[in-house]
Structures are given as structure tokens and as C-alpha cells.
């Protein structure tokens, strides 16, 4: 009400001699009248609009990323793959508590003696939402389509790259033959689509299949939710599928509403327009903490924040390119750089404490694969004195101004590229510049647009550069990008984020991929991380926490992943929305309805008064000359 009352006109002045010049009050009143009219225009008779039915059994999520496509064969963006995970089942899923592979469409699975034959036994009660049963035939068709059709391989081609054949031995058994053993077979997150719906689409679209966006609602799938509506840039609606084999969701609907500005989305959570916001900054999360009816969820990070050092960019054929600092090919220098940086300081200053200082490459939420250097392994702990001593010994002599010069005569002036759109990057960059100055390295800080950063990386025109990856429950991919095979075939086409190539690493990588025993594989994965740590090309700084918030008067409980300490948005599987229990209906209704209605009536009344008052004034003034 503060704005309205500030604009309330003072009562018309008592009769008497009026100055010929219009007094300031008059003009101010005109402004008030216009403002009031504007308010009135939008405001009248809207009392019921506030008391919508969004409270009870609907969960509303604020999203910002636009939909690329609902075609599960081609959809790339996080928001769409997240949605499709609720619409289409996959063979296996990820246990909500432990992050280990768990049954979904496949109840059981086993690998043959040679490790090349995988058999999946499907459940017999999975049904598509058009009442057709889901059989082995649908699974085989989905996989072979991805294997045979390039356009259909855009999203999941990498999952089937090692497949020899996929066949059905009966209605509920699928056999996959592999070229080579691959341990990632238990993380096949490929959505299984109904063949009877998609075969005609594929034939009809032909070469244009990649452009097919599958906006035919409701979508036929077998998942716990049905996608029923997409109004681009406004909202997306998912309805519960009560016939799902795991049991229908408790919620009736999940609505994703578009907010292009995260700060505005946070305000929408406060007002109760949305039930859930994710990817908050630490400032936003802090401001929401302690607010009535809002729970802030601080989850263990899935992502690592790192910087890589350019060890000398080269192609697979060994052709060098780019303009990285030549001294960085020296491992001792790279190690000294790592030792000069205190990850705890990065957590404090760049993440305001909302992160965990990093050890190895895989975040701690994946208990068995996570590795952290301890005891004798911890050779690169924060120790600027030791770093200085190492550099002295290796022949990096300080110049008159304190900047060291390599034995080859190159001054240690390095460039650092940081993402301008990530506040934690910007802060971390400042810390790194300072710490490297402590060991005689001068750093030029380039805080740039993501596109500029990406170009610098792929052209090899950088020295130190920020990066970060979200690590999946199966960590194979984030390790694959540091094999020699990930080096670019020609400049600009690199797979990963560092020009790293190491024989020992590649051998370990192959070994973990072929190891089907989870504990034994985890051992090899630890060794891989140790190699990365020692080589000091890929240097992990921190695992930022995932910050989310939801309204407890909309949702009573949710399954986090992992449990405890896990996240809600972006789970592997559909646990959060499937398990979400709506809050009691009366509680939800009480928060918004009546008070808004009263306020509307009051606001409308005040606006009306303003308009009437303004009209009276204008008339009085216009005829003032006559009355004089």
C-alpha cells in the first residue's frame, strides 16, 4: 500500500485567491491520477484471480531454459531431458538413496562369461499410456533405430557406440551383443519409446527426422507422468499417469512456468506463485532461509569446478597449435601452480562457503568412485613456500620485478580465462591471480563471455582456463574426455576441456571400462584420479553445493537423491516428482486467497477515489478563470 498512499492527493484547497501559475500540487495530482488509472485498468474485478487452484495437488516449478524438442532421440537441453525422463521409462534407473544402478523396465540383468553378451529381463506390467503393453520389441526397436539412423543418434548415440546387435529372445527378454566389454551397460538412460507410434513417424519424416519436435499432446510414453501441454515460453504441463507400474504419483500435475530472470523466480516463490526454484545463487538461498513456508535444500554438489592448464595443445597426430605458454609443458611448474592455490580459500571467497573444497575428480556424493588425496598421496597440498622452493630448484629465476623467468628465458606471464556469467568463477579468478603472484607468476585476468572462453579453449589460445562438469552416477564420460582419443582430429574439434594425453591414464581408462565388478572398477577409477592429480593439467577446486528451495505449504515431502544430502531437480530418475506428497489442501488455500481479495477491493477503491478526485480537480481548475 505504500505507493498508493504516497500518491493519495491532498484534499482540494479551501476557496480563496488562487495563484495564476499552476501550483506544484496540481501537476503532482495529474501524475497521481494517471498512475491510478493505470492501476485501475489492470486491477478492477480481479479478486478471484489470486485464488487459483495451483495450490493443492499441483507443483509449479520455475524454469528458464527453453525447450529444444520433445523428440527423445534428439533432445539435448537439460530442461527437456529432465522432462522426458518422467515421460519415458528406461531399462535401468539410479537408486534414489545410493546412486547405484536400480531396476526400472528391466527387473534383472546379467552379463555373459565373456562380458560381451548382456541379457535384460523386462517386467511384464509396463504399459504405454495408450494401453498398449511395452514389450522387448519396443526396446529392440528403440536401440536399433539409434544404431542405424544418424539423425536418431543425436542424443544417445554414445550409449550404443559399442553395440554389435540388439535382439529380443521373447516378449520380455532383450539381448545386447557388444564389440568390447563396457561397464557402462548398467547406466543405459536411453528412453524407451513405443514402436507403434514412432515407426510411422520415422518413415514419414525421413531425412527431416532430426527436426521432428514431437509436440503431439498428450505424448504416448510409459513413464509416471504424461506430457499434456507446451505453450512455448509460458508453461509446460505434466499430468500424473495413475497406471504406472511403480504406482501413480501423489501429485496430479507438475507445471513448469517460465521465468527468464532468476531473481523474479525467487520472488514468485515468496508470493507462492511457484512451488519450487532451483539453481539458486548463495545470495538468493541465504535471503530465502528463515522465510515462512519455504524450505531451502542445500545438497551435495554433482558438479566440480576446476581450471585446466594448457600443457601444449596438439592434435591426435601430434601437430602443435595455439599459443599456450611454452613453460606450462613442464609438470613441475603446473604442480607449483596447484600448490600455490588454497581450495579452502576458493570455497570461502568464491562460493561464500556453499561448496566443498575439492580433492579428486569425482564429487564425494558418489561415495565409491570418489577419491581424495590423503597422507602420502597428498603431494600437492596448499604450500606456497614449497612451491617457491620447487620453482627455484627447477631454474625459474625471479626477474627484478619478482616475476619468474623459465630456464628457456620466457617470463611467467600467464593468461587466465574465466566465465563472466558465473559469479563464483569471477571471484575465484581474483583469488588465483593473487596466489600465483605469491610464487612469482603474473596472471592477466580475462573475465569473458562463455563463447569467447570456448573459442580460446578450442583454438588452444589460453594458459589457464576455467571449466567444470556435472558428474553422472556412472563417471565413465568425464574420464573419457581426457584420453588421447579425445584430442582434436584437427584444431577446434576437441572432445574435452584439456589437451591431456597420457599412456598410463589411457590404460587405466580401458581397464575400468572392462571391469564389471563395481568395487574393483572403483579402485581403478581412484587410480585414474590420482594420475590426473599428479599431472596437474586438470585441477579441481571445489564441488559447489546445489541450492534449491520449495514451498512447504505446497509440498509436504520429497525424495532427494542421494538420501540424505541430495538434490531435487535434475535427478537421475523421476524420484522427486513421483514421490512428492502435496501439502494439506486447506493449508495451501489459506496462504493466498482471502487476503489478496481484500487487498484488491481496497486497492480498487483507493484507485477509484484517486480518479474521482483528479477529475474534480481538473474541472475546478479549467473553470478557475471563470470563477475569478
Amino acid at each position: 500500500m505504500s505507493i498508493l498512499s504516497a500518491r493519495r492527493p491532498s484534499p482540494p484547497p479551501a476557496d480563496g485567491p488562487r495563484p495564476r501559475c499552476s501550483p506544484v500540487g496540481t501537476t503532482a495530482r495529474r501524475t497521481a491520477a494517471t498512475g491510478a488509472a493505470l492501476l485501475l485498468l489492470g486491477g478492477t474485478g480481479l479478486a478471484p484471480a489470486a485464488a487459483d487452484d495451483a495450490g493443492a495437488d499441483t507443483m509449479t516449478i520455475a524454469v528458464s531454459q527453453q525447450v529444444d524438442s520433445f523428440n527423445p532421440f534428439t533432445a539435448q537441453l537439460a530442461v527437456t531431458t529432465n522432462i522426458l525422463r518422467h515421460v519415458y521409462d528406461s531399462l535401468l534407473t539410479v537408486d534414489p538413496e545410493t546412486n547405484e544402478p536400480a531396476p526400472a523396465l528391466a527387473e534383472e540383468w546379467e552379463a555373459g562369461e565373456d562380458g560381451l553378451t548382456w541379457t535384460f529381463h523386462l517386467r511384464d506390467d509396463a504399459v504405454f499410456t495408450d494401453d498398449e503393453p511395452l514389450t522387448a520389441d519396443d526396446v529392440v526397436w528403440t536401440f536399433t533405430t539409434i544404431m542405424e539412423n544418424e539423425a536418431a543418434a543425436i542424443a544417445y548415440g554414445n550409449y550404443v557406440a559399442g553395440f554389435e546387435s540388439v535382439t529380443a529372445t521373447d516378449d520380455h527378454t532383450v539381448v545386447v551383443e557388444l564389440d568390447e566389454p563396457q561397464a557402462t551397460m548398467t547406466s543405459l538412460a536411453v528412453p524407451i519409446v513405443p514402436r507403434h507410434v514412432w515407426e510411422p513417424i520415422l518413415e514419414q519424416e525421413g531425412d527431416a527426422f532430426a527436426e521432428y519436435t514431437n509436440e503431439v499432446f498428450p505424448l504416448v510414453g510409459s513413464g509416471p507422468f504424461v506430457l499434456t501441454e507446451h505453450d512455448r515460453g509460458r508453461h509446460i504441463t505434466l499430468e500424473a499417469n495413475p497406471g504406472h507400474w511403480r504406482g501413480g504419483p501423489e501429485l496430479d500435475r507438475v507445471v513448469l512456468r517460465y521465468y527468464s530472470e532468476k531473481d523474479a523466480a525467487v520472488e514468485a516463490l515468496r508470493s507462492g506463485e511457484v512451488s519450487f526454484v532451483y539453481e539458486l545463487t548463495d545470495a538468493q538461498a541465504t535471503s530465502l532461509e528463515g522465510t515462512d513456508d519455504i524450505a531451502v535444500n542445500i545438497a551435495d554438489g554433482k558438479r566440480f569446478q576446476a581450471f585446466t592448464v594448457n600443457p601444449g595443445a596438439e592434435t591426435q597426430d601430434g601437430e602443435a597449435f595455439g599459443d599456450g605458454h611454452p613453460a606450462l609443458s613442464d609438470r613441475t611448474l603446473r604442480q607449483a601452480i596447484v600448490m600455490a592455490i588454497d581450495n579452502d580459500e576458493i570455497v570461502d571467497k568464491a562460493h561464500n562457503g556453499q561448496a566443498v573444497a575439492a580433492g579428486g575428480y569425482v564429487p564425494p556424493r558418489y561415495e565409491d568412485f570418489h577419491w581424495s588425496p590423503e597422507g602420502a598421496e597428498e603431494t600437492l597440498a596448499f604450500d606456497p613456500d614449497a612451491a617457491n622452493a620447487m620453482l627455484d630448484e627447477a631454474g625459474y629465476e625471479p626477474d627484478e620485478d619478482g616475476v619468474r623467468v623459465s630456464p628457456e628465458g620466457d617470463r611467467l606471464e600467464l593468461r587466465l580465462h574465466a566465465h563472466a556469467d558465473r559469479p563464483d568463477n569471477v571471484q575465484a579468478a581474483l583469488v588465483i591471480v593473487e596466489r600465483l603472484a605469491d610464487i612469482g607468476i603474473e596472471v592477466e585476468n580475462n573475465t569473458v563471455d562463455p563463447g569467447v572462453l570456448s573459442d580460446a579453449l578450442h583454438e588452444g589460445e589460453y594458459d589457464l582456463i576455467f571449466t567444470g562438469w556435472t558428474v553422472n552416477p556412472d563417471p565413465d564420460y568425464v574420464f573419457s574426455i581426457h584420453t588421447c582419443g579425445a584430442l582434436p582430429a584437427e584444431p577446434g574439434t576437441m572432445q574435452g576441456d584439456a589437451y591431456f594425453c597420457d599412456e598410463e591414464y589411457d590404460e587405466l581408462y580401458e581397464a575400468q571400462l572392462a571391469e564389471y565388478d563395481r568395487a574393483a572398477r572403483a579402485e581403478i577409477v581412484h587410480e585414474l584420479q590420482q594420475v590426473l592429480y599428479t599431472e596437474a593439467v586438470v585441477n579441481v577446486l571445489a564441488y559447489p553445493n546445489i541450492l534449491e528451495a520449495y514451498r512447504t505449504d505446497h509440498v509436504a515431502s520429497l525424495q532427494a537423491q542421494p538420501d540424505p544430502g541430495g538434490n531435487i531437480w535434475g535427478q537421475d530418475g523421476y524420484w522427486a516428482w513421483w514421490s512428492a506428497e502435496p501439502a494439506a489442501a486447506d493449508e495451501a488455500a489459506a496462504s493466498s486467497g482471502p487476503s489478496s481479495g481484500i487487498m484488491w477491493a481496497l486497492g480498487g477503491g483507493a484507485a477509484l477515489l484517486l480518479v474521482v478526485g483528479a477529475v474534480v480537480l481538473v474541472v475546478r481548475r479549467a473553470t478557475a478563470g471563470d470563477r475569478e
Partner: protein, 356 residues
């Protein structure tokens, strides 16, 4: 929304004096001159548009970043999958080929395909055009009405208290960052913080639950209040300043003395005599702004999550979604060119002094 308050590029007094109509021959000569004038304007507009198309295409190719890398960022994809995307987007072909393809598509009114939405750009733009016109149109009309109304009063008594206050307030809002003002309005009037109830929605255009035309119209109106207020607050100053200075020019004119001598009330002298003449320079400004209406509300649309062209452009620039941004660029530029053309054609009708 853009630039400082501009003065008209066509000063009212500087036009060629109207030729005295003489005979029938002069009449046909006049028609010919008018046709040449119109043809000249059309040709200029066409050349500008062609230049914009070419500049837009090559400018956006200079944007740093690779659309395929940006779209697959953080995703587990192989080099083959990236290559396939590059092929689909036509990025594997030479720049010249891509441009020819694009230009020939434009002639068929085909603006190409958006990378991230996998939809024809023209369809995306048409889908968003309505909301933008609604928001920006309402905002422009309200801002112009408010600015002209207050400007006329301010200019009538320049230096008076009303003038000083009005001008100061308008210039204050003019210099306020749009983004900040929008967020402030959301925090105060939409979030339900403290004792202030959540009077208005925080974003969007219409409640997803609204059904039936009446309910949708009401919901839309309610969603429009804050964005329109933000937009008006920031831009009305330019109308106010133009109207003010224009009216000050008219103030000393002899015909006003005549009008007063007739015994007309002061407000009537202003309304019936001074304002109509002072309005002319503002017409150009209104037209220029109409052209920018579709492109000028990017920030307002972003703060209030308004599903319009501005929001679309913002999402396109982040990738960069070349097909989408160059399509929007052409549409934005074309609307400015079109409105300038209209202003050129309409102005002589309003002001006899600049008739060719």
C-alpha cells in the same frame, strides 16, 4: 527506451515554402513530384533493408562461440554426434553458400530454422509478436499520452514549480536502469514481503489456469500492470521533453496573443491553439518509436518473463542461435525502416510546409 530524448530530424520550420497553386498544369506537376518522392522513399527503404540483411548475417557470424558446442555443453556426446548437429545446422558449409541459402530463403519469406527450437524462425516470431505488440503498444500509448500531457503543461510555464518538478521526476525515471526498476516493483508489489500483499503476479503473461476469454483477458491485464508501469516510467520523459520544448517555441507566437485577445481562457489557448501546432515535431518521434517498439522492450520482457520477442532474442543470443538472432534482427530493422518510411510519407500530409 533507447538513446537520449531526440529532437526531430525534420524541424518544423525548415520545410520548403508551399508553392502557390497556380493552374491545372501545376497540379499535375505536383502529382508527379509526389510520385517521385514516394518512389525515392521506397527505394531508400529497400536499399536499407538489403544492407541490414547482409550486415546482420555477417555480423552474427563474428559472434564468439560455437552454437553446437554451446548446445551440447555439459552433455555426454561424442564427436560424431556433434558433427551430425553441425551438418543439420548447415554449419559445415562455406559462409558464402550459407549466405546465398539464407538470402534466397528470405525472398520466399523463409527466415530459416532456429537451432535450439528446431522450428521455423518465422513461426517463432509470429507466435511472439502478439504479446510484444500488446505490451509495447500499450506502454508506448500510455507513455506518449502521459508525456505529451505533462509536457504541454510544463512547457506552458517553463521554469515554474510544476515544470521543475515534472521535468526532474521524468528525468529521474529516464536515468533509472529498467532492470532495477522492474525488479524493485516485483519485490515491493508482487512478492508479498512484509505487510505489502502480493498485488500483482511476478511474471508471465497469463495464468496457466485461466480459462475462457473473459478470465484470460483479466489475467492478462493483471499481468500487464507492472511491466507497462516500468516501461512507461522509463520512457515517458522523451515525450515530455519534446512536447515541452516544442510548446515553448510556440509560446511567443502572435496567434496566441490574438487568441488571448479574443478573451479565451488560458487553458483553452493552450489546448486549442498552442498544442496542435506543437504536436508536429512529436509525430516523428512517435513514428520512430513505433518502429522500435518491437525491439525496445527486451529488458522489460526479461525481468517480467513476458513471452515476447525480446525474451526470444535474449534466449537466442545466449547460444548463439544464429538462425533465430539474424531473423529477429531483420524483423527489428525492417520495422524501424517501415515506420520511418511511413513517417516520411505521412508527414507531408500533416505539415503543408514540407510537401514536395
Amino acid at each position: 527506451m533507447t538513446g537520449a530524448p531526440t529532437t526531430s530530424d525534420r524541424p518544423a520550420g525548415a520545410g520548403a515554402p508551399a508553392a502557390p497553386a497556380a493552374a491545372g498544369a501545376a497540379g499535375s506537376g505536383r502529382l508527379a513530384r509526389a510520385l517521385v518522392y514516394v518512389a525515392g522513399r521506397l527505394a531508400t527503404a529497400a536499399v536499407s533493408l538489403a544492407a541490414v540483411v547482409a550486415a546482420g548475417f555477417f555480423l552474427f557470424r563474428i559472434l564468439p562461440g560455437d552454437p553446437v558446442r554451446a548446445m551440447t555443453e555439459g552433455r555426454e556426446v561424442s564427436a560424431e554426434q556433434r558433427e551430425e548437429l553441425r551438418r543439420q545446422f548447415g554449419l559445415d558449409r562455406s559462409l558464402g553458400e550459407q549466405f546465398l541459402d539464407y538470402a534466397s530463403g528470405l525472398l520466399r519469406l523463409d527466415l530459416g530454422t532456429s537451432f535450439q527450437y528446431r522450428e521455423p524462425v518465422a513461426e517463432l516470431i509470429l507466435d511472439r509478436l502478439g504479446p510484444t505488440l500488446l505490451l509495447a503498444g500499450t506502454g508506448t500509448v500510455v507513455a506518449a499520452a502521459l508525456g505529451l500531457f505533462l509536457g504541454a503543461r510544463a512547457g506552458w510555464r517553463p521554469g515554474g514549480r510544476g515544470d521543475r518538478v515534472n521535468t526532474a521526476v521524468a528525468l529521474f525515471f529516464w536515468s533509472v536502469p529498467t532492470f532495477w526498476l522492474g525488479l524493485l516493483l516485483i519485490v515491493v508489489l508482487a512478492s508479498g514481503r512484509g505487510f505489502v500483499p502480493d498485488l500483482f503476479p511476478t511474471g508471465g503473461m497469463v495464468d496457466p489456469d485461466a480459462t475462457g476469454p473473459g478470465e484470460i483477458a483479466l489475467s492478462t491485464a493483471r499481468h500487464m500492470v507492472l511491466p507497462v508501469t516500468t516501461m512507461v516510467a522509463v520512457i515517458y520523459a522523451q515525450y515530455l521533453m519534446i512536447m515541452r520544448s516544442s510548446l515553448m517555441d510556440e509560446k511567443g507566437a502572435d496567434y496566441l496573443t490574438t487568441a488571448r485577445a479574443k478573451g479565451l481562457r488560458d487553458s483553452l489557448v493552450r489546448r486549442r491553439h498552442a498544442v496542435p501546432n506543437a504536436l508536429l515535431p512529436t509525430v516523428t518521434l512517435v513514428f520512430l518509436n513505433l518502429g522500435q517498439v518491437v525491439s525496445g522492450v527486451i529488458l522489460v520482457e526479461t525481468v517480467f518473463s513476458w513471452p515476447g520477442l525480446g525474451q526470444l532474442f535474449y534466449s537466442g543470443l545466449r547460444v548463439p542461435d544464429l538462425g533465430l538472432v539474424q531473423g529477429l534482427f531483420v524483423v527489428f530493422a525492417a520495422s524501424v525502416i517501415l515506420m520511418n518510411l511511413l513517417a516520411d510519407l505521412v508527414y507531408p500530409l500533416l505539415d503543408p510546409r514540407v510537401r514536395p
